[in-house]
C-alpha cells in the first residue's frame, strides 16, 4: 500500500489517545448504522425480507439506523473532533481530561446497549429520541460533562479571540443539553395529542438544526482554512451565518405538520423560518468557496478538502430542498414521499457525515503519528461515496416527485408503489455502494493507526509526534 505524507503538528495540547478512541469508535458506527440502512432498503424490494423475526422488522430496525447515524456515527465523531479542536483553539489543554477518558467508554457502552435494546422492543416512541430511559440518563450526563469541559476550557483560554468554531461548538452543546432533556424526559411523559406532535416537530428539528448543523459547521470552519491553506474568507460572514441560524432555526420544526390541526399562524412562522435559512446556508457557502478560491488545487491534494467540498455541494442542494419543501404548495406534493428522505440523507449524510469524515482524514494521521495508510483506499472511499450517494440522492428526489405527482392527480396508492420498484432497487445498490466506500475508508483509518508508516520529522527541525498504538 502507498502511504500519504501528513504534515507534522505538535499536538502537545491534545489528549491524542482520547481523540483517537472517539474517532475510531465513530468509524465503527459510520459503517454499522448505514449498513442497517441498506438492510432496511432491501425490505422495499422484498417485502418479506427478514420480516418473520420480530427484532429484524422495519419498525425495530429503522430507529437503529436513525439513532445510530445521529448519536453513533455523527456525535461520536463530533466529540472526538471537539477534544482535538477546542484545546488547539484555546491554547490550553481540555478541562478535566480524566473525564474524557472515562467518557469514551461510558458513551460507547451506553450507545451499544441502547442500540441493542431498540430491536428488542425497548423504544420510548419519540422519533429520533427513541432510546430507553436508562440510556438517556447516561447520555444526558455525558453531554452535560462534555459541555462543562468545553465551556470551562473556553473560559480559561490563552488565545485572546474566540474563533467561529468555538461559537458553534459551545452553542451546539448548550442547546443539545436542553433539547436532549426536552425530547427524552419531557415529551414522552407529558403533553398529549396535537401539542405533543407540535413539540416533537420542534425537538426533531432541534436535533438537526441545533446539534448536527452547528456542530458540523464548527468542523468545516476549523478544517476549511487549514485544508485550503488560506485564511478564512470573512469573519463578518461568520457572524451573519451564526446569528441568523440561531435566530431562525428554533421556529423551523413545525413545518413537519403543515396542513395539520396545529394553528395556521404557527405553520406560517415555520414556513417563513425554513425559507429564511437560505440566509445562513448561502452565507456559510460564500465563506466556504471564498476561502477556497485561488487554491482549488487542494481539491486534488487533500482528502480533507475533497470531502469538505463535496459535502458543501450537497449542503447547497439539501438545504435548498429543505427550505422550499416547507412551502405549502411544495409540501402538498412532497409530503409522505421519498423526496423527504432525499432531503434528510442529503443533509445528514451528504453534508454533515462527509464533513466529519473530512475532519477524520485531517486528524487521525496527526494524532496517531502515522501517515495515512493507503491513498488507494482513500480514493476508493471518495469515489464510491460520491457516485453511490449522488445516485441515491437523485433517485430519491426523482421518485418523490413522481409519487407526489401521481397521488396529486388521483392515482391509486398501490399503483404509485408499483412504479417505485426500480427506483427502490437502484437506491439499495447506491446505498450498498456508498456503504462499501465507508467500509474501505474506515478500514484505512484503522490501518493508519495500527500499521501506518511513522511520520518523519520535517526539515524545519520540528519534532514528529511519537506514534500511538504501534
Amino acid at each position: 500500500m502507498s502511504s500519504v505524507a501528513a504534515p507534522v503538528d505538535r499536538d502537545d495540547l491534545v489528549d491524542r489517545e482520547v481523540v483517537l478512541r472517539f474517532l475510531l469508535s465513530a468509524a465503527f458506527w459510520l459503517v454499522f448504522a448505514p449498513t442497517i440502512g441498506v438492510i432496511l432498503s432491501v425490505k422495499f424490494n422484498y417485502y418479506d425480507f427478514l420480516g418473520n423475526v420480530s427484532w429484524l422488522t422495519w419498525g425495530r430496525l429503522r430507529p437503529v439506523h436513525v439513532m445510530g447515524v445521529v448519536f453513533g456515527a455523527f456525535s461520536s465523531a463530533i466529540v472526538g473532533l471537539t477534544y482535538y479542536m477546542v484545546p488547539r483553539l484555546c491554547g490550553v489543554r481540555m478541562y478535566k481530561e480524566n473525564w474524557s477518558r472515562a467518557l469514551v467508554w461510558i458513551w460507547n457502552i451506553a450507545l451499544t446497549a441502547a442500540l441493542v435494546s431498540l430491536p428488542l422492543g425497548q423504544n420510548i416512541g419519540i422519533e429520533a429520541g427513541e432510546f430507553p430511559l436508562w440510556a438517556n440518563v447516561i447520555i444526558e450526563i455525558a453531554l452535560i460533562l462534555i459541555t462543562i469541559q468545553v465551556i470551562v476550557t473556553v473560559v480559561r483560554r490563552k488565545e485572546p479571540r474566540i474563533y467561529v468554531t468555538l461559537w458553534y461548538l459551545t452553542a451546539a452543546y448548550v442547546w443539545t443539553v436542553f433539547n436532549y432533556a426536552f425530547g427524552h424526559f419531557i415529551l414522552p411523559y407529558s403533553m398529549p395529542g396535537v401539542n405533543n406532535a407540535a413539540m416533537h416537530g420542534l425537538y426533531i428539528h432541534y436535533v438537526v438544526g441545533l446539534w448536527i448543523t452547528p456542530a458540523g459547521l464548527a468542523v468545516i470552519y476549523y478544517f476549511l482554512p487549514l485544508s485550503a491553506q488560506r485564511p478564512l474568507y470573512s469573519h463578518k460572514l461568520s457572524l451573519v451565518g451564526f446569528w441568523s441560524l440561531a435566530f431562525f432555526y428554533p421556529f423551523v420544526g413545525t413545518h413537519h405538520y403543515i396542513y395539520s390541526p396545529i394553528p395556521y399562524w404557527t405553520q406560517t412562522i415555520a414556513i417563513v423560518a425554513s425559507m429564511m435559512l437560505i440566509i445562513p446556508v448561502w452565507t456559510v457557502l460564500q465563506n466556504f468557496y471564498g476561502t477556497f478560491v485561488g487554491n482549488w488545487k487542494r481539491f486534488q491534494e487533500s482528502y480533507t478538502a475533497k470531502f469538505l467540498i463535496i459535502g458543501a455541494l450537497y449542503y447547497l442542494i439539501g438545504c435548498f430542498q429543505g427550505s422550499t419543501e416547507a412551502l405549502r404548495g411544495v409540501q402538498r406534493l412532497t409530503h409522505f414521499t421519498d423526496f423527504v428522505i432525499a432531503h434528510s440523507h442529503l443533509t445528514v449524510f451528504g453534508t454533515f457525515i462527509l464533513w466529519v469524515t473530512a475532519g477524520m482524514y485531517y486528524v487521525i494521521p496527526r494524532v496517531s503519528g502515522h501517515e495515512l495508510y493507503s491513498k488507494a483506499l482513500a480514493q476508493w472511499h471518495y469515489w464510491l461515496t460520491l457516485t453511490g450517494f449522488s445516485l441515491m440522492a437523485a433517485v430519491l428526489t426523482l421518485q418523490g416527485l413522481m409519487q407526489g405527482t401521481m397521488l396529486e392527480v388521483g392515482a391509486d396508492f398501490v399503483d404509485s408503489m408499483v412504479v417505485m420498484k426500480p427506483y427502490w432497487f437502484t437506491r439499495t445498490l447506491a446505498g450498498a455502494t456508498m456503504d462499501i466506500g465507508a467500509l474501505l475508508g474506515m478500514w484505512n483509518f484503522y490501518m493508519t493507526v495500527v500499521h501506518g508508516r511513522r511520520i518523519e520529522a520535517p526539515a524545519s527541525g520540528a519534532a514528529a509526534p511519537e506514534p500511538l498504538w504501534t
Partner: protein, 55 residues
C-alpha cells in the same frame, strides 16, 4: 476636534496562534446583501399574507 471613525480593513488578517488558522475580517459581497434584503421583504409579505387561513 475632528473625530476619525475607525474602519477595519476587510483584508485585515487575524492569526490564531495555537491552531494555525488565519481569518480575514472580510466583507459581505453585494450579491449576498441583495439576497438578504429580498428574503427579508419576502418574509414580511408572507407573514402578513398567510398569518391566518383565508380559505
Amino acid at each position: 476636534m475632528v473625530q476619525h471613525e475607525h474602519k477595519e480593513d476587510p483584508g485585515e488578517i487575524s492569526h490564531y496562534e495555537f491552531s494555525g488558522i488565519d481569518e480575514r475580517h472580510g466583507r459581505i459581497p453585494r450579491w449576498l446583501g441583495f439576497v438578504y434584503v429580498v428574503m427579508l421583504i419576502w418574509m414580511v409579505y408572507y407573514l402578513v399574507r398567510f398569518w391566518t387561513d383565508k380559505g
